[in-house]
């Protein structure tokens, strides 16, 4: 295990010497010497297909077992690598909006939002507040003029509507770090606008957001959501991380 210094108060997530492959004989997917995310900053990670973006998100969210490398990730004060520690990450305030997360089409919209709640549950007064938040978004998700209801199955929404609910499920509950893995895939301009307004509204000043996408337009829209001073671009090329756009 790598010994992280404890005095870096402003660091929310730190990754060091991350070498990941999907098997002992497979090629190296990620080769990250150092990734450090600070409190209150917003990052956009640009990378082409097969550059290791989704693998990085899965590793950071504890979905992948990093058994071919030592434990090298610290979120807040949680050191982790194994999937068993995922609950601790959620409790500590890590939220992830996964690419192509199917969610639960047969459950209602509200039930899908509820499933994003922390494991310990949520008080009734908070639930009422969150319900109001969702009810403000629902009317604009309408495709045919009729507003969806809380009790409507999620499957009745369009792909863009589902993407907005997917984001709501992540941002509605308090968080410290939000990882967004290609949240705008297959989302039309109208829903894209809604999605960014939801993100802007539900990102506290102290929270950190990392948007991961292959689309430059996504990054431009994301940057406009937040003050320039909070914004930092990152680039992933063939598993390596850069702070500027380089061609390998």
């Amino acid at each position: 295990m790598i010994d992280f210094p404890r005095n870096e108060e402003k660091t929310i997530l730190e990754v060091r010497n991350l070498r990941f492959r999907y098997g002992s004989r497979s090629p190296l997917i990620l080769d990250v010497d150092n990734l450090r995310l600070l409190w209150g900053r917003v990052y956009s990670l640009f990378g082409r297909n097969m550059s290791g973006k989704t693998t990085l998100v899965k590793l950071l969210s504890g979905l992948l077992d990093n058994s071919y490398a030592p434990v090298c990730v610290r979120f807040d004060y949680v050191d982790y690598a194994l999937p068993e520690q995922r609950r601790a990450l959620q409790t500590a305030g890590l939220r992830v909006c996964h690419q192509n997360d199917p969610m639960f089409p047969e459950l209602s919209i509200w039930e899908n939002v509820l499933l994003g709640a922390p494991g310990s549950g949520v008080g009734r007064s908070h639930l009422k507040h969150y319900r109001e938040e969702v009810s403000r978004v629902l009317p604009v998700l309408s495709d045919n003029g009729t507003s969806p209801q809380f009790s409507d199955p999620l499957g009745t929404l369009s792909g863009g509507g589902r993407a907005v609910i997917r984001l709501l499920r992540s941002v509605l509950w308090s968080y410290k770090l939000l990882l967004l893995d290609e949240p705008l895939t297959n989302v039309d301009p109208n829903n894209r606008e809604i999605l960014f307004s939801v993100l802007r509204e539900h990102t506290p000043e102290h929270a950190t957001v990392l948007l991961i996408s292959h689309d430059e337009q996504d990054h431009d829209s994301f940057r406009k959501c937040f003050p320039e001073i909070r914004y930092t671009p990152l680039f992933l090329r063939q598993g390596k991380l850069f702070d500027r756009n380089v061609e390998l």
Binding site: L63, Q90, P102, L107, L115
Partner: protein, 334 residues
């Protein structure tokens, strides 16, 4: 809607039973159906809990037979009732923990694991029965030797040994059902608490989410393994309650190693008839109880109507299951 249809079906069968039996007493028929169905409702709930979580459990029948036989064995040894209850409860919990661990944490296939457990538990029940029969035979011979004159011929003793020993074992006479051992209060508690849990708790929502789609549940950061483990544990507790109620309240203390054979299929059928989706994600607590009720009603009418054979119950229940499968397949996919 489905619950209403099932309820009306039971009422209709009760009325028909009253008519075909010649007495015209539909209320008595309804009571008989309830008495037959109630001890098995926890068993149906056990199957429904596991199925709605996206798994399958074929062990309830074996567990049912084993727990009943274990109760008899320990009672006949002379242990006090409370100790017997605790021992059998611990056995049920152990079986649930083992199955939950093997399936949820070790990744064993639920079908094979629970099938294996079922065979093993039926085997264990048969072993206990053999031991009980042997000890009862020795006890009978000893008593006969004591009672009879010491000059009895060996032929007489051999004849006594050859006497058929009753296969059905029974509880000692001091184990008469108290009010808390009756089915009605237990079933009422289970149905009320189960319905509240299903509609009011986050735990039930997470349980059904795992049943719907395990991959999506993992992406939603649900602890899939804990939820699956808990389903098997709760199911084993429900089977325990069912076995105890069936033995004390319905069978009057009688039990054999074969009691409960094929009940796992009844439990699964009742769960599906009651609105639980076999692929997981849907659970209707009241529907499961009514599904068991319909099965009991079909059995009752087969017994009461002289022109029907008890095997016709399976025929009718099978047809009903096929209709339900057809109706469920028509449900719109989202």
């Amino acid at each position: 809607m489905r619950s209403v249809i099932l309820f009306l079906t039971i009422i209709m069968i009760a009325v028909i039973t009253g008519y075909v039996s010649g007495s015209g007493d539909s209320f008595s028929a309804l009571l008989s159906i309830a008495a037959r169905a109630m001890p098995l409702i926890p068993l149906g709930l056990a199957a429904a809990i596991v199925i709605s979580c996206g798994d399958i459990d074929l062990s309830p029948a074996g567990m049912f037979a084993f727990l009943g036989m274990l109760t008899l064995g320990l009672s006949n040894v002379g242990l006090p009732v409370w100790l017997v209850s605790v021992c059998v409860l611990v056995s049920a919990i152990s079986i649930g923990i083992f199955q939950g661990w093997a399936i949820a944490y070790r990744g064993l296939a639920p079908l094979i694991t629970t099938l294996g457990m079922s065979f093993a538990l039926f085997g264990a029940a048969t072993t206990i029965q053999v031991v009980l029969q042997e000890s009862s035979r020795k006890f009978n011979i000893k008593q006969q030797i004591e009672v009879k004159d010491a000059g009895a011929t060996s032929t007489e003793l051999q004849l006594e040994r050859a006497n058929p020993i009753p296969i059905v074992q029974t509880l000692p006479n001091n184990l008469q059902p108290a009010i808390w051992q009756r089915s009605l209060p237990w079933v009422a508690i289970l149905l009320i608490s189960g319905t509240l849990w299903r509609h009011r708790s986050m735990s039930a929502l997470r349980h059904l989410a795992v049943g719907f789609d395990r991959n999506a549940a993992q992406l939603a950061n649900l602890d899939v393994r804990v939820i699956r483990f808990r389903a098997f544990l709760v199911a084993s507790l429900l089977v325990y309650i069912s076995a105890m109620l069936y033995m004390i309240d319905y069978q009057g203390g009688g039990w054999t190693a074969a009691t409960g054979r094929n009940l796992e299929l009844l439990a699964i059928a009742a769960a599906v008839i009651g609105g639980t989706t076999i692929t997981g994600g849907r659970l209707n607590v009241i529907g499961v109880a009514l599904g068991i009720g319909v099965w009991a009603a079909l059995g009752h009418i087969c017994i009461m109507a002289k022109f029907l054979d008890p095997e016709h119950q399976k025929l009718a229940a099978g047809l009903l299951l096929l209709i339900v499968a057809f109706v469920d397949s028509k449900r719109q996919k989202l």
